[in-house]
Each structure stands twice: as C-alpha cells, then as structure tokens.
C-alpha cells in the first residue's frame, strides 16, 4: 500500500523530468556549439563517503552517467579521511581532481583562495538551468563576486525527529510552535529523563535564531548583525531549554551526538537532518521515530546544509567534468542519487524520497549554512561561549553575542 502511494508520484515525476531533460538538450543545440555527447576523456572525481549505502547510491548514479555518456570515463577516487588536508595538497600541487565535493561550511574559504572555477558563464552558454536549485543550497556556493562556484549535489534542512511511542504514551502531538515545544518539554521531562537532546552548537541554534528574526550578518554579509534583540531573545530561549533541564547536550548523556540519544531512548525529540535516517536504519532499526517540521517561532526558517560538486581552477579536463557535474546535479542523476534514501534532493524538480517530505519542505525556507571566509573562527567563538553559558546554567546571551561579534568583525577585516 505504502510503496504504491509513493510510487505513483515518482513515476509521474520520472516522466516529467524526462521531458525537462529533453528541453535542456534542445536549448543547448540551439544556443551554442557545446554538445555534451561529443565530449570524451577521463574525469578524475573525488569526494568522501559517509557510508556503504552512499557508495551504492553514487555507483548507481555513475552507472546512469556511463549509459548516457559512454565516451566519458569516470575515475572515482574517494578520500577516506581528512578530506580538507588531502585536497590542500592537491590544490598546492596545481593538480586538483576534475570534479570534487566542497562542503558549504568551507566554500567561501575555497572560493576566496581562487581554488574553484566559476560556473555561471558555462551554465548560461551551455544551457544548464540553475533555477531549479533551492536558493538556500545554491547560494552557499556564491562568492562575494556574485558568481556561483559549485552546484549542490543534495541538501539537508533540519527537522524534528521524535520517538513516536514516547509521544503517544504521553498523549501529546508533535509541537508546532515554540510555546508548544516548551510545554512538551515540561511534560516529557520527568524522573531524570529529558525531553530533548539539543546540540549546543551554532549549526542547530542558528535555525532558531532565524526563526526569531535574528541573524549573524546583514543581508550581503558585509557587516555583523548578531547584536540584535531578536538574536539575543532566541539565544536566551534556547539556553532556557538547558537551564530548565528540558534539553541536554548529547555529551551530558555520554553520547557522541543526538542521534545516539534518540536511538537509545534517552530523549523524546531531537533536531537533526536527513543524515539521521541511514544512522537509525543501521544502528537502531527497531526504534520507531518520525519527522515533523521545526516548531515555528515568529516566522518559519530553517538552516540548509549542503555539499557541492565543483570544478577546480586548475582541473585538467573541465569539459568532461562539466558533463558529469550537470548530469549528477541535473534531474536524472539526482533522482538516482537520492532515491536510495541516503540524501535529499537539492532541486525542486526532483521529488522527495518517501518519508523525507518534511525535510525537503524545510529546504524551501532554509538559509545556507555558509557565510564568509574564515567563518570557522566565528563558529568556534559562538560554540565556546555557548558551552560556558550552559556549564554556568545561565541564560544570559551577552557574552555569546559579544564574542561572536568580535570574531565576525575580525574575520571581516582580515
């Protein structure tokens, strides 16, 4: 029954995207002389791999590519650990792979260093429509010059994962607003058990700051905007969840991250992204949980995490890399890559895999988790001040905001 219900829209979408693909090819042959099927050569392609399932899904997408473009050979060379270090060596030697992953968190550092090739001109002259990407994902790879340096290979927004049994036993519905969330926290925090596992880091809390109308930067990322009442209120609200004992950090439970705490049944709700699903499937297959949208603050907002496929400035085989890039981030390749459930689509014209609808919907309101060069220091400043506040059982946002502002000013001026 279940597979039939979700199967039908997928078939419809398959047909639709096939038509879209044809349109794209039509545009290309009319507009320019670039014909992807005439390109040949070898593309050296590098990324990391989080799980075996990911490898299987990627291989399926690469098989699809091989069938469509038999003249191009793909030489896949995944990097097992320390991706940034390995890539730094390749960039320094002026021998980067032709196509590779770039994490949105470091994209601006890599763009500013001139490591990546801009893609806008190619996209417009070769007729690749970037309008289908969710802006919250695509904009993560937009440099300060306004050019795009990578297309998102997939994307994740945050959602609320909850233990269905615990919630129904307590007779409560998944909270939809901040007030309902606090009420649920109060009800579910009993007898040494905590309602939520909360990450104390900026990569979760910023979603709630956005929901309250706060922000880190002004719109064009040229000035700090963290010192606002909206931001402070949101931080206080978040700190209160810790202070009241409704929420605890995973390490306070002895866990490495909130997924483990949910799996072990220590908490009822966590705020994570689609990466939770493969983890739960492999580690805690018997725990019943479901996704709900992030409870809404003053406004709906979410945080988008993504990784791009990018071409290096010094990449040797750029044309073949372009063909692979546009296949994998185009509707056909992305459908194959995401249907196994290891990733969620970054394009609006690829439908959500079954069970991921909530998370994909979050992408529509997502702000990119990607800011300015040197952002890691800002992130560290925020996280360290948060840790200090939680340890002191305080809900005073002053030091957190001040430290973050100092770090932002320093990053902007260096």
């Amino acid at each position: 029954m279940r597979s039939l219900r979700f199967g039908l829209p997928i078939v419809v979408l398959l047909v639709l995207s096939a038509c879209a693909g044809n349109n794209g090819t039509g545009g290309q042959s009319g507009g320019s002389s670039f014909d992807p099927s005439s390109i040949s050569g070898t593309v050296v392609f590098t990324g990391w791999q989080a799980s075996k399932d990911e490898g299987v899904a990627l291989q399926a997408a690469l098989d699809g590519f091989k069938a469509k473009y038999p003249k191009i050979k793909v030489d896949y060379q995944p990097i097992a650990t320390d991706y940034a270090t390995a890539m730094a060596a390749k960039f320094s030697a002026h021998q980067p792979p032709d196509l590779f992953y770039v994490d949105s968190f470091v994209s601006h550092d890599w763009i500013e260093q001139g490591l990546l090739a801009p893609l806008d001109d190619l996209a417009s002259s070769r007729g690749f429509d970037t309008g289908q990407f969710y802006p919250g994902f695509l904009n993560a790879f937009k440099g300060s010059d306004g050019k795009i340096y990578g297309f998102p290979k997939d994307g994740n927004a945050l959602g609320m994962a909850y233990n269905s049994d615990t919630l129904s036993a307590a007779g409560i519905q998944p909270p939809t607003t901040w007030d309902e969330l606090v009420a649920a926290g109060q009800k579910l925090t009993t007898g040494g058990k905590h309602a939520f596992c909360l990450s104390s880091t900026l990569d979760r809390e910023l979603a709630f700051i956005y929901q309250n109308g706060g922000s880190l930067f002004n719109d064009d990322l040229t000035k700090s905007a963290v010192d606002s009442d909206a931001t402070k209120q949101a931080i206080t609200w978040y700190l209160d969840l810790f202070k009241n004992g409704y929420g605890v950090r995973p390490k306070d439970l002895g866990d490495d991250w909130c997924g483990t705490s949910l799996g072990k049944g220590k908490v009822a709700m966590i705020f994570e992204g689609g990466w939770l699903d493969p983890f739960m499937k492999s580690t805690y297959p018997n725990v019943k949980y479901a996704w709900a949208p992030l409870p809404k603050g003053k406004q709906e907002a979410n945080l988008g995490f993504t990784v791009s496929y990018s071409i290096g400035k010094d990449s040797k085989n750029k044309d073949a890399a372009w063909v692979l890039l546009t296949y994998l981030t185009g509707p056909d390749g992305m459908k194959i890559w995401t249907q196994g459930g290891v990733a969620n689509p970054s394009r609006k014209d690829v439908s959500a895999p079954a069970g991921k609808e909530v998370l994909v919907k979050g992408a529509e309101i997502a702000h990119p988790w990607s800011f300015i060069p040197g952002f890691s220091k800002i992130n560290d400043a925020f996280n360290n001040a948060m840790t200090a506040a939680i340890e002191a059982k305080s809900d005073d946002p002053t030091k957190i905001v001040n430290d973050t502002k100092t770090a932002i000013d320093q990053a902007l001026n260096s």
Partner: protein, 319 residues
C-alpha cells in the same frame, strides 16, 4: 709555500693524505642527510617565515593585496583565543612536566632495583608509550564519560560523597566540562609518557658509577639520603635531557586535544592549544600564511624555553 711542504717527512704526508681522504669520505657521507636536513627542515622554517608575511593559500599569495607584513602577527596577538591557547599550554606544561618527570624518575628508581620480574615491570611501565595516542585517547574518552568506567568505579567504591564535596556529581563528564578537561588530559599524558621518561632516567641511573654509592654507604648514608644527596644531583644531565624533551613535547600538545575536543578545542576552548590553533587556520580556513605565523611564534616560544632550561641545567656535570 712549497718549501715547507717538501720538508715534511714522507710518512706524515701519507698520513695527511689518508686523513684528508677519510675526511672527504666522511663529509661526502654526511652531505646527503645534511642536504635533506637543510632543504626540508631549515629551508621550510625559512619558507614558513617568508609566507607568514603574506595572505597565502594553497595556490600561493591570494587576494588583491596579499602582502601583509607583520599584520598576520598583529591579528594573532590580538586574538583572545590565541592567548587562551597559550595560557592552556603553559598551564599544561607547568603541571604536566614536573608530574611526569617525577613519575618517570620514581618508576626508573624502582625498576633499577635488583628485584624479581624486573623486565616485566620495565615492559609494563613502558607499554602505554607504545600504544597509539589515537587508540589510547579514544579509550580514555570512554573511561571518563558520564557513564564511563571511572564514574562506575567511584560509585562502587562509595567515595562519591568526597567527590560531591568538590562539586562533581556522580555522572560528571570529566572531559566534557571545561574545568576538568585539561586536567584529565594531564593525567592521561602523565600516565602514557612516564614510561618513556622512565627509560631516559634508567639510562642516566645506570651511568652513575658504583663507587659513589659505595662511598656514600661507607659514610653511613641511608637510602633516602643516598637518593637525595647522591643520585638526584648526579642525574643532572638526565634531568636536563628529560626536561627539554618534556617541555618541547608539552608546547606541541595536539593529538589528545583534537581527539577529545575536536578542532574547536571544546569544551569552551579548554583544549585549544597553539598547534591546534595553527591546524585550524591551515586546514579549516586554508589560511597558510596565518598558520605559518602561528608556527613562527611557537618556534620562538620553544627556543626560548629550551635556552632557559639550558641556563638552568645545562652546565657540564662537575664530577
């Protein structure tokens, strides 16, 4: 010029030629590693000093105005996190170096006795030093976690009231709270490194001649006096060597810090060290020039510390 050379006896001339050839062969053999040393060690130090004056990335100078002069250094010195890293590492060095030296010396003196199973004790004290720091730190993270072995043991021993006097609840997260994270690392490293220091001290202990002990015995010194009046002062070269190695190692603390606290030095920068700070700049931000400047500062710091120690311990032994 030629005349005196001609007057040198034939035998001495052959010796001179032999010596020259020997010297040439010696220099020839030394030249290869020396060249590698000059290029890869000394050369890279100078290159690091050079790029520390630039905004420098994987592809070389970056941006419109890449030359930064001393501005990288100014930014570092005005960064509170860098000073936190320096404070952390000084605290670590001040506690960890004497503690580990004391344990190492204690173990060395014990295993230097003629006791049964001497080899077994030497091996087992040294054993933690050969385990990989990644593996041993990972184990330590589990041991010191809220539901870890350490908390379990103190629960079982019933000593929790004493701990709660100091404000440590029964499920305290030793590595996750900023006030105990660094102290826990100190204990971990004192345990793993004392075996190495034991070996160093053992070598020094065995180089002390028996005669001085016999003289002390004849003078009626007891074991305690012998240790403090004879052994300890005569170990001075050993102290110098161990202290120098220890301080250099302490100032370069990195592995345990990054395994426990990640590259962010969590919790609350309690585990941020200068090398971790450098790593962050280089690998997270690809800001090689800035990272090189941190490296240069660290080089100056370590050299200064070593010179000070040389002044304190470094005179030639007086016996």
């Amino acid at each position: 010029m030629a005349a005196p050379a001609a007057s040198v006896p034939a035998s001495r001339r052959t010796l001179g030629r032999d010596r020259r050839q020997e010297a040439l062969a010696g220099y020839g053999l030394v030249a290869v590693p020396m060249l590698l040393f000059l290029v890869f060690q000394i050369g890279s130090i100078f290159f690091a000093i050079y790029i520390s004056l630039w905004k420098w990335g994987p592809l070389g100078p970056t941006g419109l105005n890449p030359f930064r002069g001393i501005r990288n250094y100014q930014t570092i010195l005005s960064d509170p996190i860098f000073w936190k890293a320096i404070t952390n590492i000084l605290y670590y060095a001040v506690i960890w170096v004497p503690l580990t030296m004391a344990i190492g010396l204690f173990l060395a003196v014990i295993v230097n006795q003629k006791i049964r199973g001497q080899t077994f004790f030497r091996a087992s004290f040294y054993f933690p030093a050969i385990a990989s720091s990644a593996a041993i730190t990972t184990l330590f993270i589990f041991i010191m976690g809220p539901e870890g072995l350490f908390n379990g043991v103190r629960q079982a021993l019933g000593v929790n009231p004493i701990f709660s006097l100091f404000g440590f609840p029964s499920n305290y997260n030793w590595l996750g709270e900023s006030r105990t994270a660094m102290n826990s690392i100190i204990i971990l490293n004192a345990w793993t490194t004392s075996g190495t220091f034991m070996l160093f001290y053992l070598a020094s202990l065995q180089s002390i001649s028996h005669e001085v002990y016999e003289a002390a015995a004849i003078d009626g010194a007891n074991a305690w006096q012998t240790f403090w009046r004879v052994t300890f002062p005569l170990l001075r070269p050993g102290h110098y060597f161990v202290a120098t190695v220890a301080v250099i190692g302490a100032l370069q603390l990195f592995d345990q810090a990054i395994f426990v606290g990640g590259s962010g030095g969590e919790p609350n920068n309690a585990l941020t060290t200068p090398v971790l700070f450098l790593y962050r700049a280089a690998i997270s931000d690809f800001n090689f020039g800035y990272a090189a400047a941190v490296g240069v500062i660290l080089l100056v710091l370590i050299m200064a510390a070593t010179l000070i120690q040389r002044r304190l311990f470094g005179q030639a032994p007086s016996w």
